[in-house]
Subunit: 223 residues, 2 copies
């Protein structure tokens, strides 16, 4: 039973809340039973499993948690290389908000899509992104950023999303909320699409990506 | 120039970060130039406008801000009664996450929809919800919770969203992420719809609501 906050395992958990330590050690922390189960079910290996009242004092586990409601279980897991394939992918360009990134992973999972992350994206294995993804992080193919048959989703000036033959495209490219997509990324795209909206400058990036996947899945359903 | 943290205006701002004070005083705080402009443009009245370096010490304004990056401008605004009408509305049942609520307001604005909030929803005028809504809070009709011609969006067991004649319905009802919709709310709905997904139990509530509005707008575009 861990009874000291200076315990090495607790120190490790605290370190892994920082992205640079996750990168350095190739490890990440999963909080809560549901997420730990999802990671194990997807074949991720747990280096450590901390269970409140079993092998660690509940108050100490609560202390290293990032959650308002402290979890009963936390795990330290080993990252794996990006792997898998998918017929359709979301290519995320500098999507730095971890909540949006996690939500997009959840939607990608829901529509059977993969995800490509550019540099400057939030870390999908950070605490907020993991939480928003609700376990989808462990199932969605994370692929190298490479634009082929890509449609850029732009706030305005593109063809209406519905007018495009979406099945011709394999990748939807989404930019950061603030800056959108730079010219060199747009130049790699075969088409530009816009979701017709009123009043607002743009939809939230997670909404736009989710609508694109939904729209494409409807085209699939018809054919 | 405000130079003391005990200044009454700063004390008021701090109080208004709490929901009960917003309720009691009928006031709320808006942070950042963009949001302040959006509130003014929509006809909301500013009781106070605090501008860093003009009428308040920048460090003191930063101290009462909820933002990581302190804003240059903060305003204390007066709430208005729910008003307006809309052909389509989202009825949110106990959507307690302020980020999801704000995002749904932004999507409602984008698709010309209104929003109804049940008891137990997050406060749309709280700091996180205001931020996620990006100004849409001030434009979207906030209506009383009343279900007419309503479709319940349910995680499973409903008709596929696309198979419904969406123009027959005026309201999409969305439940809390954890508990979904209770039987007495479902009993008031004319139909149940499900967005076809794989792998995951459900989409994020903001994604589901946004897809419903998008799907309905596509039906409108066709007719």
């Amino acid at each position: 039973m861990i009874t000291s906050r200076n315990n090495e395992k607790l120190k490790l958990v605290r370190k892994l809340h920082e992205r640079r330590w996750r990168g350095k050690l190739g490890l990440f922390v999963v909080e809560g039973e549901d997420l730990v189960e999802a990671a194990l079910a997807a074949g991720y290996e747990a280096d450590e499993l901390l269970v409140a009242g079993e092998n660690v004092e509940p108050a100490l586990l609560a202390e290293v948690s990032t959650l308002g409601h402290p979890p009963r279980v936390m795990g330290v897991f080993r990252r794996r290389d990006a792997a898998g394939t998918a017929d359709v992918t979301l290519a995320l360009w500098r999507v730095a908000d971890p909540g949006n990134l996690g939500t997009l992973l959840r939607s990608a999972d829901a529509f059977g899509a993969g995800v490509m992350l550019s540099e400057g994206c939030a870390d999908p294995f950070g605490p907020k992104a993991l939480r928003a993804a609700m376990g989808s992080t462990f199932r969605v193919p994370l692929l190298d950023f490479e634009l082929r048959n890509a449609v850029a989703l732009v706030a305005d000036g593109g063809e209406s999303l519905d007018d495009l033959d979406l099945l011709r495209y394999a990748t939807f490219v989404l930019g950061s909320e603030r800056e959108g997509l730079p010219d060199d990324v747009l130049a790699c795209c075969a088409a530009k699409a816009t979701i017709p909206v009123q009043n607002v400058e743009s939809l939230n990036v997670a909404m736009a990506g989710t609508i694109a996947l939904y729209a494409r899945s409807r085209h699939e359903a018809v054919t």
